[in-house]
Assembly symmetry: none
DNA sequence: AATGAATGAGCCTTCATTCAT
DNA sequence: GATGAATGAAGGCTCATTCAT
């Protein structure tokens, strides 16, 4: 009875007449493709082929390739910010809170390579597309505020040194967590991939945590 | 009219019959274009248009677009390594040597944005083109050896803590210096560009130096 | 984002459930668009966007783009003929009647550029769509008959020369009145727009009237 | 031996490696297509298919569809002006010169329907593309100057009335000669095609000549 | 060593139109 | 009577590359 399975119609869609599902499907695959190849390196056709739809639908829902890219970028940022918000640090002692934040950031970036790659891509474009997305302008102060509160508390408790800039501290955490994912290919090509094995990454995380602690702790 | 016709315009060239100059011209503009737009985002035509040559010459000298890209990448690495070698640290006290190395790296990355962007591009391609360049496999151990010597000397002198991994240390220096350039666009879009003014960058450099010092110094 | 997405935006309509109003709205904007851009140059979407309806409605009411175009053409002719009928010349002395008719035609064409442009468009299509409209075949003899009567009366009164062809005379009046509107763009691009200022047009109208008078008057 | 004739290669071109011939071929067919269908109504593919070349070559030589259209327009005007210049009227008596000019214009427009249709098309576009062609701005005063000289001579000789505007006279000649071709389709659809038979056209030409004579002659 | 002419393949996008309710 | 979702077919155009000399 193998013929039953074989007689496939031209297209099978679970989401027929379900626009939200189509949109979500497109967005998911577009995220993956843009993350893999960048904006210029991605073919609209490739995105369409990965789902059971036509190129036409992509333009139907997102206007053009750049519109799709912008939406991908926006949703990626929204998801990341959402995850960050779930991290509740407010009750914790300052140093513990900071360590937890660093750990979270390091792990989170590692688990979301697509996001990292989209951000790399945006940097290649000098943030051009990001600038056009209004919703991004609001959420970013939150993370700085959170760090501010931790630094203040730490300073007051005498465990952090005085005068730490939350912005610079955030920059530092970001740099180490981001680079770990973004530059993995070239770094391991140049210096081997010892740092990127499971143990290597755990050790590196510890190293990063210590680095941050050393940077902030009172002497 | 036919203003937009594709047919190659007549050209006047100062370097007529000077193959090396043509090659160098192509390479220079290709570096700039690939750095700006990445591999997929760059048009062979755009490179040709920037110099007084035809697209045809690019294929004549470099085989294909990827061949040109590979050459660009290789030369960029060669130039960077050359600059690194000029930095003589061997006679200096360990901490001073380390600080000087960090300072140099931070400044050097800042001054060579094209190189940084080419490396970003390579990471988008998972280091694919880099892997094909044999000359790169040799030079990279030097920088680790250099750091090894500094760490050893520092440990012996009692100013560095014991057991520092030169690889991790290099990774740390690279991460902070690289991210500063690579993610400038998205970081300033998200958090303002205070860190990227002249003073901001000087302060950040100090911050990075202190970060490294804190990480290595004996307690 | 999805700002450019094609999916029909939600609409608010004052004429909800009023089919005649929808039809009239579509027709009005279609006339304007077809007059501006011709059949091939007009987008169904553009017509729909100008009113508060969906493309779907256009097909619902008019079958297809050509059906809409045909209807536009038909209505345009009907409106023109209606205006012509309002002009009552029968009691007037022949020369006065003729002058009034010329004046009317010249002014009327000037005021109805959309109609002129639709006729230009039809001529580009060699009258293809016009041929399919049955209602047009009837009304056109009226204008010739009218001229016939004027010529007859003029001849009988001795003020017109004998043997004037009403068809040729109509052709002459049409040519001058039509060209004045249809070729304004190219003519003024070539020879300046002196003839198309308010005074220029008034002078031109006098010129045209004299031209017709010279053509018909007995010597 | 029919196989010899049948084994046709994919493309036969007489002009292989002869850019001017390719250009000319494209231009000729493009003129014909644009004249027939207008800018929007013409398919680049259709032009390519009519000659033994690919769409690609059209873009190679003319940049884009509009570039081709502009070139077509420009060449069409150049050819027309060239023909006009060949008409030598300077020695003739004024009325004879004028009649000859009218006759020439009427016949010439009739013989060059493609040109008329291109001008119609330009008027649909409000002269947009014409404006971009610099070479057109110069040649057009010639025809007015020519008429000026005729009018002056005619007036001096006492056969023309005083104060004729050469511009208005040219407008009149143009209108009648242009409309004859441009509006043939709609006019004959509305009023029959009696005027457009060979005899009809000859009679109409006489009518037009008389119309012009009546307009200028001294009383 | 050098080059003007040519090109196949494929890109993003648009168009009028129909489906399914 | 009305509509949101969907689409096949084609449209103009661009890309890296090769041909022919």
């Amino acid at each position: 009875m193998a013929d039953k399975a074989e007689s496939t119609p031209k297209r099978i869609r679970s989401w027929k007449q379900d626009p939200e599902a189509v949109r979500a499907d497109i967005l998911r695959e577009a995220t993956s493709e843009f993350a893999k190849n960048g904006l210029a390196g991605t073919r609209v056709k490739d995105i369409a082929d990965r789902i059971q739809t036509s190129r036409r639908m992509i333009f139907y829902y997102f206007g053009d390739k750049e519109g799709l890219y912008r939406t991908v970028l926006e949703e990626a940022y929204i998801n990341i910010r959402k995850a960050e918000e779930d991290l509740r640090l407010d009750g914790l002692p300052p140093m513990e809170a900071l360590v937890k934040l660093v750990e979270f950031t390091f792990d989170h970036h590692r688990r979301n390579e697509d996001f990292i790659r989209l951000v790399m891509s945006e940097n290649i474009h000098n943030g051009h597309y990001m600038e056009q997305i209004e919703s991004l302008h609001l959420t970013n102060t939150k993370v700085i505020n959170q760090l501010s509160r931790i630094c203040e508390a730490g300073e007051k408790a005498g465990v952090f040194k005085a005068g730490i800039s939350p912005l610079e501290l955030h920059w530092q955490i970001s740099a180490l967590s981001f680079f770990n994912v973004s530059n993995r290919a070239t770094f391991s090509n140049n210096f081997g991939n010892a740092l990127f094995s499971e143990e290597g990454q755990n050790a590196l995380k510890e190293y990063v945590i210590n680095c941050i602690i050393s940077s902030v702790k009172a002497e």
